[in-house]
């Protein structure tokens, strides 16, 4: 029987579990990464739900992407078979990747979510993975 569980992808390394929230605040334009996320490696498939509840400043973009760790070198890199996140230019909810017709099965042991805020000066967004796994 398949079971589903949630993983907050926008969880910073230094953020304690007690302060974790569904919404993540970005206070300045730039590139950010989450903590290392190992919670996808028992998944049969994963879908990401994401959106932005506020964007501040001159219009720009908020771009999410996934990084996968090479288990020997420890380096994080984008692989070509990863889900594609839509570029966000205005507040939006209910986005999901991959699409309904595609199941994405993680190949790696460890991931990070990266978010790049361009031109905008602040943003509030969310990104949660719904992990589907069987057996156990």
């Amino acid at each position: 029987m398949a079971r589903r569980r949630l993983v907050n992808m926008a969880h910073l390394i230094t953020q304690t579990g007690l302060t974790l929230s569904s919404l993540t605040n970005v206070a300045a334009a730039g590139t950010y990464v989450s903590r290392e996320i190992y919670d996808l490696n028992t998944a049969d498939s994963v879908a990401f739900y994401y959106g932005a509840t506020s964007l501040t400043g001159t219009p720009g973009t908020l771009q999410l992407s996934l990084l996968e760790r090479d288990p020997v070198s420890g380096a994080f890199a984008t692989q070509t078979d990863m889900p594609a996140f839509a570029s966000i230019a205005a507040t939006v909810a209910n986005l999901r990747t991959p699409s309904t017709a595609t199941l994405w099965q993680p190949q790696g042991e460890c991931y990070k979510l990266q978010w790049i805020l361009t031109t905008f000066t602040a943003a509030t967004f969310y990104c949660v993975a719904v992990v589907t796994q069987s057996g156990g």
Binding site: G17, L18, P71, V72, G136
Partner: protein, 407 residues
């Protein structure tokens, strides 16, 4: 309808069906992780995640406590001071009532750290951590814990002298040479004396901003005697390093006014030259918490025993981030069993330690009070395993089969 009879464990205790080294306790809850799910939660930084590469004793995955590089260097200190061995070489026994001299080139006076919760008494640990004879504070290369009955501080800035009186070897279990251990000081002027608390130490209460705090919570307001069990292995390269590795096992509760916590802290890298031939520094000195203060500070750690075993060997660290050079691929590792038992009975939860078990040995501790401090946080009993580290070499450890018991 059946009612869970907390006061009648003998009648209702089910047989233990999980891996355990204990002989007591009715299981309240257990985390086996066999269903691929993690019911425990990390309140701290970094991550506590399912690890299918490091399989627990008895099967199934373990949970990796990984700080992900967040160091606890500014935090995990307190109640300790390090001095340089002074005076002349001398022999100390369990009843010699010796006078021992230590010096400090620090600007500030060591008096604050010596005033161990207002007591004139305390502990002096000589930890032999290097195979180099010139670094040993004892001629035999063995680590010892001594006790003292009083001290006098003299001198001034950058030239402090501390004179301890009534110094004896504390005959802890597995001290080398028991029942009549004798140490002779060596390398005066370079050998190190660690006074009172170990440094680093996990303090008397969880520190979630600098460590992984991996826990299960059960509502109970100090109704009886409880146990907390876990299996534990140092996993990464450098995860059992002298003066850098901090793994803590805690059982604690709050009543809306105070926090009461029992913390067990295995301090790694204690050196011994056993059999007169083979020196190694992967033994452990076990400490437990008592005293009072604020937010974990003011904790007095009490030395319980040396433990002989292989604690700093056989790492699993494919990236090799700990050493920064080569990776380690030992999935089996070296597992340890830890069990805290405390009596929490009392309207204000003025509880005390009953015993601490580390692997094959149970150490009776009653009636040693648990550490306590003012705390209006969640009024619930917590069973936690925690990990922090100091320095720059990333460390992680694994835990498995955490169990809460009613004793």
């Amino acid at each position: 309808m059946s009612v869970d009879p907390m006061g009648m464990p003998a009648l209702y205790a089910p047989p233990r069906n999980g891996p355990s080294r204990t002989t007591t306790g009715r299981v309240i809850w257990e985390e086996s992780y066999l269903n691929n799910m993690v019911g425990t939660f990390n309140d701290g930084i970094g991550s506590a995640h399912l690890d299918w590469d490091v399989i627990a004793p008895g099967g199934g995955p373990s949970v990796r406590l990984d700080n992900q590089g967040v160091t606890a260097t500014p935090t995990f200190t307190g109640g300790n001071v390090q001095l340089v061995l002074g005076g002349s070489p001398q022999t100390i026994t369990t009843s010699s009532n010796s006078t021992l001299v230590g010096t400090s080139a620090a600007t500030g006076s060591p008096t604050g750290a010596l005033n161990y919760a207002g007591l004139a008494t305390g502990y002096i640990t000589v930890t032999s951590t290097s195979a180099t004879v010139g670094n040993w504070a004892t001629t035999d290369g063995n680590s010892y814990v001594m006790s003292y009955t009083s001290y006098v501080v003299s001198g001034g800035a950058n030239a402090w002298v501390v004179t301890f009186s009534g110094v004896n070897i504390l005959p802890l279990p597995q001290t080398y040479g028991l029942p009549t251990p004798t140490l002779t000081t060596a390398n005066v002027g370079t050998g190190l004396l660690n006074i009172n608390n170990p440094n680093p130490n996990p303090t008397g209460a969880p520190q979630p901003t600098v460590s992984v705090v991996h826990k299960r919570r059960i509502n109970d307001q100090f109704s009886g005697v409880f146990g907390a069990e876990t299996w534990f292995r140092p996993t990464s390269v450098s995860s059992a390093t002298s003066g850098a590795s901090v793994f803590a096992h805690r059982l604690y509760n709050r009543n809306g006014v105070n926090y009461y916590g029992a913390t067990a802290y295995p301090q790694f890298a204690q050196g011994f030259l056993r059999g007169g031939a083979t020196w190694s520094n992967d033994n452990v000195l076990l400490w437990v918490s008592t005293g009072t203060g604020t937010s974990g500070a003011g904790c007095q750690f009490i030395p319980v025993a040396f433990s002989v075993g292989a604690f700093g060997q056989h790492s699993w660290d494919p990236v090799g981030t700990g050493a920064g050079t080569s990776s380690q691929w030992d999935k089996a590792g070296c597992w340890n069993y830890s069990k805290i038992i405390v009596n929490m009975t009392g309207t204000l939860g003025a509880g005390y330690w009953v015993s601490y078990q580390w692997n094959d040995i149970v150490y009776p501790l009653a009636p040693l009070p648990m550490y306590y401090c003012p705390d209006t946080g969640a009024k619930i009993m917590h069973f936690s395993t925690e990990h922090g580290f100091q320095g720059t070499n990333r460390q992680f450890v694994n835990v498995a089969h955490m169990v809460g018991t009613n004793e």
